[in-house]
């Protein structure tokens, strides 16, 4: 049985996966939609829509969940101050971090740290299995129309807002 070329959808999936991997790898850096769209070989305006079609959430929300997952690990595994954890995972203010964390996880970063202990399994499994699921709570960040044109980065958004 001969292999068949990627269908258009499979090719799209593969390019979206590269963009998602870029967020996984560079979660702590300022990332904007044009940068991620370039990874996926799409325009910025197309990227947000297609990413959501493939993964069921916006790039911004995925990046939020990635950052919060990393924050959960740092809160569980280290004694770094919550403010430092917020900065380490890509947030520019404690307020935005706490609000986003509570929105996604359901409890505050401090409450989470108190309730969870370190676990000793390979980090990729921790990352995959502790990634907070999309909850019923709506996104609290910028509206989609703004994300489609500006940034998926918390840092960038907050720097711009100053």
């Amino acid at each position: 049985m001969a292999s068949t070329p990627l269908s258009a959808q499979e090719d799209t999936n593969r390019r979206m996966l590269r963009a998602r991997d870029e967020m996984d790898r560079r979660y702590a850096e300022p990332l904007d939609l044009p940068t991620l769209a370039a990874v996926a070989h799409l325009s910025a305006s197309q990227f947000g829509r297609v990413f959501k079609e493939v993964y069921g959430e916006t790039p911004h929300r995925y990046l939020q969940r990635r950052r919060v997952e990393r924050a959960m690990t740092l809160l569980r595994q280290t004694d770094r101050p919550v403010t430092d954890v917020a900065w380490d995972v890509g947030f520019a203010s404690l307020g935005t971090f706490s609000r986003t964390f509570s929105n996604i996880v359901g409890i505050s970063p401090t409450e989470f740290r108190t309730a969870h202990q370190p676990v000793a399994v390979p980090s990729c499994f921790i990352a995959a299995w502790t990634r907070p699921r999309e909850s019923a709570a709506p996104e609290t960040a910028a509206p989609e129309t703004a994300l489609a044109e500006t940034a998926v980065s918390e840092k960038r958004e907050e720097v711009d807002a100053r």
């Binding site: 049985m1 999936n13 569980r76 370190p118 390979p122």
Partner: protein, 153 residues
């Protein structure tokens, strides 16, 4: 031996979308040895493995008759979305392995990170399957757990 008489993990299937491309990736980039490459008529039985180790990977083309067309399409989509399992390999020099793969243009999902159990990084095969490569340190599981707990105090 346990009561089920199972002695080893012999073959593990990896879903691929192009067997030639898969064979090139797993042998050229990951250093696996080609083992069976047999045209059975109904399928190409293609296996590779780490030299010196018995377990083989079956580079299995998605789309065989065990799946209807709709299911095969779904599996291909899951592979390309990175939603199916993955491999966990070990290296004797994880930084050298990383450098070679990076320089060869392999997709890196995470640069090497020091962990209490060793150092590891992640890549994708050409189809979206996740491959994790680590170099364990000499810590026992108990010592790894202690290191995690100590870092949290």
């Amino acid at each position: 031996m346990n009561s089920n008489h199972i002695t080893s993990l012999h073959i593990r299937s990896v879903p691929v979308l192009d067997q030639d491309e898969a064979l090139d990736f797993y042998t050229t980039h990951l250093g696996f040895e080609a083992r069976d490459d047999i045209d059975l008529g109904f399928m190409r039985w293609l296996t590779v493995g780490v030299p010196g180790q018995d377990t083989s990977l079956l580079l299995e083309l998605v789309g065989g008759p065990q799946h209807d067309e709709s299911t095969a399409t779904q599996v291909r989509e899951l592979v390309t979305k990175g939603a199916l399992g993955g491999l966990f390999l070990q290296s004797s020099d994880v930084h050298a392995t990383y450098a070679a793969l990076r320089d060869a243009g392999v997709e890196v999902t995470q640069e090497p990170v020091e962990q209490p159990y060793g150092t590891d990084f992640g890549i994708r095969d050409p189809f979206g399957n996740h491959v994790r490569i680590s170099q364990p340190n000499t810590a026992t599981p108990a010592q790894v757990q202690d290191a995690y707990e100590a870092s949290a105090q």
